[in-house]
Amino acid sequence: MADETAPSETTLLGESKIFTPEVINDIHMKAELGRYRMRGGGIFKKIPHWDELVFLPGTLTRFVIEGYREKCETKTVLGSRFAKKPLELDIPIYITGMSFGALSLEAKMALAKGASMAGTATCSGEGGMIPPERDLSTKWYYQVIQSRYGFNPHHLMLADAVEFFIGQGCKVGMGGHLMGQKVTEQVAEMRSLPPGIDQRSPARHPDWMGPDDLSLKVQEVREATDYQVPIQLKLGASRVYDDVRMAAKCGPDVIYLDGAEGGTGAGPHIGTEETGIPLMAAIPEARRALEDVGLADEIDLVVAGGIRNGADVAKCIALGATAVAIGTAALMALGSNKEIPGVTDYVGATGAPASKFYHMHTGNDPAGITTQDPELRKRLDVDEGAMRVYNFLHALTLEAQMLARACGKTNIHSLEPEDLAALTTESAAMAKVPLAGTNYVPGVTEDKTLGEIKQLLEKHVANDGLAGGSGV
């Protein structure tokens, strides 16, 4: 073996961690294109995530529930605040809104069918209702989204719940995207747009400009739907405490919070990387906000963003979510990012191997999911896809139940933040749970101690007065 430490004329001093090969390539590309770069998927850079939390199951202090046999209720009710018909789900997980346009018809149908098999809901996403999806969904959210593409009051009346899309975690403060390659005649017609154009949807709703107007918009939709179904406000996680307080005061039944880990079918790379805060940090802020406005027991919290397994689900619920929505993972369950031997060729079609595929925006999805191409779409079988989605939802539920039972819960919604410990100080500070093996919650512990010192000092001053002070 050559001695790498020996002096040499060709030795490199090192390599930049700032100007990495990817960064250099990005600069070259932008110099060619003259615009920001688009892509699908979620955040690339490393952010504190659910892996940094663990559960504290029962041993002797707690009675554990028989892991694979005894009861652990998963029924989840959303929106019983004002809705005459709250949304009742068998499991605390549902499929989030992804548009027909971003997804193929077959993908939308398979997700709807799989969710219905699992006793849970799907959501229309942007771009309007497609009847086959509605038919296959036993519980169906209809989205009121900024662009109002395809929005139809008749379809609104068919909804089991209404979601106001105000923002998404992947690109908070920005509108949706759909590149022209995916805007077929059919997609364009549903959206009343010319085919083939790059859709950059509005970032704001057309008919309200701020929370005071939103209050009235919520009233309008309630009046139109006769108070039958829950109204949910979907927010990207950003200034969570203030946003959730404001949202709560607009009168919704449910608030949906989307963390920075969330994905998209297409968005500016820089928007995906640089906006929003992790879900782990957002949920405790949202709970605190709801408590501070006195609506913690009235408004349900749905969360989403980068959920991969039943542990992520259970951790979200423990921190205070009523239900969890999944998107990216559901597409993977359908078969996204998976090479089918002899059929798909990820590297050939997109330049990236299946495991690194994020090219949903191009419409060249080899798995036939995020595409409108008739040939590619044939690769996705609706029934098989639905079965995989059902299997995945079922597995997520089993995993979450397993952890809940281990913590002694006969109901998954009994999970609480005290069932968690953090593995890093960052996650302890964000999730506001103690660092494992300690009582230390960064920020919280210090505040508490300061409060105690203040109180002691006040008592001391009240008893002895300032005059007789210790000469400090």
């Binding site: 590309m29 060619e32 294109l33 003259g34 615009r35 770069r37 688009m38 004002f82 005459k84 662009s147 109002r148 929005f151 139809n152 009051p153 008749h154 609104l156 009346m157 068919l158 590149m179 022209g180 390659q181 959206r191 009343s192 747009l193 010319p194 083939g196 154009i197 790059d198 509005p202 057309p206 008919d207 309200w208 400009m209 107007d213 009235l216 918009k217 919520v218 009233q219 309008e220 939709v221 309630r222 009046e223 139109a224 739907t225 006769d226 108070y227 009168g251 609506l295 027991d297 009235e298 408004i299 079609a349 997109t350 330049g351 090219h359 925006h361 191009t362 419409g363 060249n364 191409d373």
Partner: protein, 271 residues
């Protein structure tokens, strides 16, 4: 599509604290007041002492249970969210003014408002006619998809934002960003238009008789054709409006349709 109506139910349980809405906007337990005076297929409703919910419940009751198809609402007192979500043919006269979101999410009704309307009147209307005798606030006809929306007075900013069809006619002036991100349909403005007319519009046509403060991005002037003149004539005849002599026509310049450069992976490979 029939609307799901539930019989007004008595509240049996003690009101949960969360059902109480400090703002007074959510009225989950309200019932139809049954105070309208019905004669044949016509009815008259005095809304002076009724809440938004009560007015809407009474409208639904008259239309769906009493077989009434012509309703006059008196004393609406600029309340919000009145006559929304009506998906049937009917005639409604609002004798006075409406607040925000008046006549939103409708398909079919013919509505005449004798006063003024607040923001977002007739938003997402699918078909039908809404005529407003006085002024309108901002976001008039937001995301409208069909039908005729006629404002005899002035309108605020962002008229016909995200418009997807139908016709908006304004007798007076329009504010800034008129036709912002418009997708289809027409607007006929008899007075002046504010800054940013037709900004980022995708399609559709804007006709303006008065001064245009400035055009928005990718909005360009086009030649008036006989078909344009015929359309305007016809609409003005229907609604008995004074027709300004000349209109200018504005359409999309189509420069913003696509990113002008694509990365290799974004180019369409298959098909």
């Amino acid at each position: 599509m029939e609307q799901v109506m539930q019989a007004p139910e008595q509240s049996t349980v003690a009101t949960k604290p969360g059902r109480y809405d400090i703002r007074g906007l959510a009225e989950p337990d309200a019932v139809a007041p049954r105070t309208a005076v019905v004669s044949g297929d016509k009815a008259e409703l005095d809304a002076a002492d009724l809440s938004t919910r009560q007015i809407n419940l009474e409208l639904r009751r008259l239309l769906n249970e009493e077989g009434v198809s012509d309703i006059t609402v008196r004393n609406p007192r600029a309340r919000h969210s009145i006559a929304v979500g009506l998906l049937e043919r009917c005639r409604i006269k609002i004798d006075g003014s409406l607040g925000y979101f008046g006549c939103g999410l409708i398909d079919g009704p013919e509505i005449h408002v004798t006063g003024r309307v607040g923001w977002s009147v007739a938003e997402n209307m699918m078909s039908g006619v809404v005529v407003v005798d006085k002024n309108a606030g901002s976001l008039t006809g937001a995301a409208i998809r069909g039908g005729d929306l006629v404002i005899r007075g002035h309108v605020g900013a962002r008229t016909g934002i995200d418009q997807k069809g139908g016709t908006i006619i304004v007798g007076g002036n329009a504010g800034s960003m008129t036709g912002f991100m418009m997708q289809r349909g027409r607007q006929i403005i008899c007075g002046d238009a504010g800054n940013g007319l037709g900004d980022s519009m995708y399609d559709g046509t804007l006709y303006v008789a008065g001064k245009v403060a400035s055009l928005g991005i990718d909005c360009v002037e086009a030649e008036m054709t006989d078909a344009d003149a015929e359309l305007i004539d016809r609409k003005f005849r229907i609604y008995g409006l004074d027709r300004p002599d000349t209109f200018r026509k504005f359409v999309c310049g189509k420069q913003l349709y696509n990113y002008d450069t694509l990365e290799p992976s974004e180019r369409k490979l298959v098909l």
